[in-house]
C-alpha cells in the first residue's frame, strides 16, 4: 500500500470517538467601521512602527515625491512596471531628476546577477492595504514579478488611500480571494528584518532595507 493510503487509512479508522466540527465565529476579528481618514492614520502608525516610511501624495504630486525619495538616497536607477499605469506615468513624466529607469521584462534566469547586484530601487503597485497591521497587499504579475519587491534594497509601493481595508479578514472577503488565488500573494509589513542576534533588530537581512509607501489621497 502506498504511504498516502497508509496515512489516510490510519486517519479514517481512528480508534477514538466521533469528531464533530465546532462552529467558528469570526466576529471577534471585526473592528469598528473606521473612516478612510482613520484607516489611513492607523495604517501609517502601524507601518511606521515597523520601520516603514509613509508619504502622503496626490495623483499630481506622487512622481515628484518619488524623485525626492530617490535623490535623497542617491539611487542610480529605479525598476518600474512596464504596463501598469504607475510605470507608464513615470515614463511619460520625462522628469530629468529621476534616475535611470529599468524594466523587469526578461525571465530572471538571463539577468539574475544584475538584479541582485545593480538595481538600487523598485516601485510596484499594490492591491490595497490593511490598517490594523500596517500591511500592503501585493499580487505579483508578469508585469510586476515576485522578486521586484524583494531583491532591490529599496522598495517603493504605491497605495490608493481608498483601498485601505480595516483587517486582513475584511480584505480577503471583499476581494473574494477564495474564488481563486494567484501564483503568489503577499502581505508586506515593513522592510525585511531580523532579531535573531540577541533580539537586536536589524533591517534588510535578506530583502529590502527600506520600504517606502506613497499613499495617494
Amino acid at each position: 500500500m502506498s504511504s498516502r493510503n497508509i496515512i489516510l487509512q490510519r486517519l479514517r479508522n481512528r480508534t477514538g470517538g466521533e469528531l464533530t466540527a465546532p462552529e467558528c465565529d469570526f466576529s471577534v476579528l471585526k473592528r469598528p467601521d473606521w473612516s478612510t481618514a482613520e484607516r489611513i492614520e492607523l495604517f501609517e502608525k502601524m507601518i511606521e512602527s515597523v520601520h516603514g516610511e509613509v508619504h502622503h501624495c496626490t495623483s499630481d504630486t506622487w512622481i515628484e515625491r518619488l524623485a525626492e525619495v530617490l535623490n535623497t538616497r542617491g539611487a542610480r536607477n529605479l525598476m518600474i512596471p512596464k504596463e501598469h499605469p504607475i510605470g507608464q506615468a513615470i515614463k511619460a513624466s520625462e522628469r530629468t531628476d529621476l534616475p535611470e529607469l529599468l524594466l523587469y521584462d526578461e525571465p530572471i534566469e538571463s539577468w539574475q546577477p544584475y538584479l541582485f547586484n545593480e538595481v538600487d530601487a523598485s516601485i510596484t503597485s499594490t492591491r490595497g492595504g490593511i490598517a490594523e497591521t500596517g500591511s500592503l497587499i501585493l499580487w505579483p504579475t508578469p508585469d510586476e514579478p515576485r522578486l521586484m519587491s524583494l531583491v532591490p534594497p529599496v522598495h517603493i509601493a504605491v497605495l490608493n488611500a481608498s483601498e485601505i481595508y480595516t483587517t486582513f479578514h475584511e480584505a480577503m472577503i471583499s476581494q473574494n480571494w477564495a474564488s481563486g488565488m494567484p501564483t503568489n500573494a503577499l502581505l508586506i509589513s515593513g522592510p525585511s528584518k531580523t532579531a535573531d542576534i540577541e533580539q537586536t533588530l536589524a533591517y534588510g537581512v535578506h530583502g529590502p532595507k527600506e520600504l517606502i509607501v506613497l499613499v495617494i489621497e
Binding site: 477514538g16 469528531l19 530572471i108 488565488m181 503568489n184 502581505l187 537581512v205
Partner: protein, 479 residues
C-alpha cells in the same frame, strides 16, 4: 510509524535530561540569555493583545484547529486535489526517513547539488540537512538564526528564535572563525555580512526547501510566515521549491488563516504581523518571469496519525508552533532549549516528542514541569498542555484500569515497588478502620519521622506530622 525514525538530536541522549538541566541551571550565560529574551517576549505578547478580546480569539483559534482535525483525512485529500490542479506535486511520507528520501529523489532527478533552506521545524524533525549532506547534496540554512546554529554545528534552542542561546559576542566569534568576517559587536554589520554571503548562495542554489505554516485546502495554498525575506527568496529564486509540512497543518479555508495568523505572530513574538506573509498557490505560470518552475509538497506523518487515534492526545495536533508555551515556561526559561535534547523543546516538546521518540526514550519529558499551567493559559489554540502532561505521566507508569496506556514506550517509568506502595495507599484509604489505625500510629511515632526525603528536601523542610490526627481532634471536640 516506523521505529527507525525515532530521531532525537544526533549524538544527544534524551534520557540524560537531568545532568544537562543541572549544567544549564549553573551556567550564568545560558540563564542570562534566556531570561532576557523570554522576559522581552512575554512583555511584547501582552502588549500585542491589548484591546483584543483574547479569550474569544483563542476560542476561535481552538475551534478552527478542531474543525480542521475533525475532518483531517478529507481535508488532506481536498488539499492534494487543489494543489495538483494548481500544478504542485504532492508527496506523502509515513516518517522522517521517507520524507528525506523523497526530497533527495527530487534533487537527484534535477541533478541538484545544492539546497537552500528556509526555516522548517519539520525538516529538523526529519534531520534533513544531515541526510542530504550524507548523500552529497549541500544544504544551507538561510534564516539568520538557523544559519548561525548551522555554523556552530548545533541545533535550534527555540522553535522561533533558533540562536537565542547565543549572545552577540559569541555569534561574532563564530562568524569570524567560520566565514572570516571581522570581530564586531555591531549587529548590523554581522547581519549585512550574512546577507552578502547568503545572496550568493540563493543565486546558485538548485533547490529551495521551506516549511509551511498553514496549508489551505479550499484553494491549495501554502502559507509561510516570516520577517527576513529568506522564505520568499527560498521559494522564489531556485528553479525548484520543495515544501515539507506535517499533515496536521491543513486548514479548511483562507478565512481560517486570517484568524490563526492574528494569533500566531502576536503569540510568538508580540508582532501584530510579520514582515512577510507569503501565500504560494502554484509554480511559475505562462508569462511569469520568476518563481520556481517546479513546486513540491511533502506531507509528513511521522507519528501524527498515532496521536490522532486518541481523543485526548489529539489536542496536541492543534499546535500552530508559536513558541509562546516555552517563552512562558519557568522550566524552559531556566534550562534553555538544548537541555531537552529534542527537536521541539519546552512544553509543546514535552507533549509532542514522547509520541515521536517513544515514552521510553522521552520518559523525563512529561515530568520536566511544575504543572504551573502558564503554557495552557497562553496557548493561542487552548491546548490543555498541563492535562496532557499528566496524561503522559500516567502513560509512563502504565496508567491504571481507568486510563490504559497507549503511547509507544509506555510504562518505562513503572517500578513494582512504587506500584505496590500506591496500591497499599489506595487500599488504606478505602478502609476506614485501617486508615484510622495507620494515621493514629503515624501520629504517635512522629518523632521517628525522617528529616530528609531525598532531593525534595534539598531546598525544603519536611512538614511535620501533627501530634493528633484530624479524626482524633474531631472526636475530642465531640463531633
Amino acid at each position: 510509524m516506523s521505529e527507525t525514525t525515532a530521531h532525537a538530536h544526533p549524538h544527544v541522549d534524551v534520557k540524560e535530561f537531568h545532568p544537562r538541566a543541572h549544567a544549564a541551571i549553573h551556567n550564568p550565560k545560558i540563564r542570562q540569555n534566556f531570561r532576557k529574551a523570554m522576559d522581552g517576549l512575554m512583555a511584547k505578547r501582552t502588549a500585542a493583545f491589548e484591546g483584543w478580546d483574547l479569550e474569544t480569539l483563542r476560542d476561535l483559534g481552538a475551534n478552527i484547529r478542531l474543525k480542521a482535525l475533525s475532518n483531517l483525512p478529507d481535508l488532506l485529500e481536498q488539499l492534494e486535489q487543489k494543489l495538483t490542479e494548481n500544478g504542485i506535486k504532492v508527496h506523502w511520507a509515513v516518517d522522517g526517513d521517507e520524507a528525506c528520501r523523497i526530497v533527495r529523489d527530487i534533487c537527484v532527478a534535477r541533478d541538484a547539488k545544492s539546497v537552500i533552506k528556509g526555516k522548517s521545524m519539520v525538516s529538523e524533525e526529519m534531520e534533513l540537512n544531515h541526510y542530504l549532506q550524507d548523500h552529497g547534496i549541500e544544504a544551507l540554512e538561510s534564516d539568520l538564526g538557523e544559519y548561525i546554529v548551522q555554523l556552530a554545528d548545533e541545533t535550534p534552542s527555540h522553535i522561533i528564535m533558533p540562536a537565542i542561546h547565543k549572545n552577540t559576542g559569541e555569534i561574532s566569534e563564530l562568524m569570524h572563525e567560520k566565514t572570516g568576517t571581522d570581530l564586531s559587536n555591531d549587529v548590523e554589520y554581522l547581519t549585512a555580512s550574512a546577507r552578502q554571503q547568503l545572496r550568493e548562495k540563493f543565486m546558485n542554489a538548485d533547490v529551495g526547501v521551506s516549511g509551511v505554516n498553514f496549508a489551505v485546502a479550499e484553494t491549495g495554498t501554502l502559507c509561510l510566515v516570516e520577517n527576513e525575506g529568506n522564505g520568499r527568496m527560498t521559494t522564489t529564486v531556485p528553479k525548484c521549491h520543495i515544501a515539507v509540512t506535517g499533515i496536521e497543518k491543513v486548514v479548511p479555508s483562507l478565512e481560517d488563516v486570517s484568524a490563526l495568523l492574528a494569533l500566531l505572530t502576536r503569540s510568538a513574538t508580540g508582532q501584530h504581523i510579520t514582515t512577510y506573509f507569503n501565500m504560494i498557490s502554484s509554480p511559475r505560470k505562462g508569462e511569469e518571469l520568476d518563481g520556481p518552475e517546479e513546486v513540491h509538497v511533502v506531507l509528513v506523518d511521522n507519528g501524527r496519525s498515532s496521536i490522532y487515534q486518541d481523543d485526548e492526545l489529539l489536542d496536541t495536533l492543534r499546535c500552530i508552533r508559536c513558541g509562546a508555551c516555552m517563552n512562558h515556561c519557568p522550566v524552559y526559561t531556566r534550562v534553555g532549549g538544548h537541555t531537552y535534547g529534542t527537536t521541539y523543546p519546552g512544553p509543546i516538546g514535552k507533549i509532542l516528542m514522547p509520541h515521536l521518540i517513544g515514552l521510553d526514550e522521552g520518559r523525563h519529558l512529561p515530568t520536566a514541569s511544575s504543572l504551573c499551567g502558564a503554557c495552557g493559559e497562553v496557548c493561542p489554540v487552548k491546548i490543555p498542555i498541563p492535562d496532557l502532561l499528566v496524561r503522559l505521566r500516567q502513560e509512563s507508569v502504565d496508567g491504571d484500569r481507568l486510563h490504559p496506556a497507549k503511547v509507544r514506550g509506555h510504562g518505562a517509568k513503572r517500578s513494582t515497588g512504587e506500584a505496590m506502595i500506591w496500591k497499599g495507599w489506595a487500599w488504606m484509604h478505602a478502609s476506614p478502620g485501617i486508615y484510622r489505625l495507620g494515621t493514629g500510629v503515624a501520629a504517635k511515632f512522629r518523632a521517628l519521622q525522617p528529616s530528609k526525603a531525598g532531593a525534595w528536601t534539598d531546598f525544603r523542610t519536611v512538614p511535620k506530622l501533627a501530634p493528633k490526627t484530624l479524626h482524633q481532634r474531631m472526636k475530642e471536640r465531640g463531633q
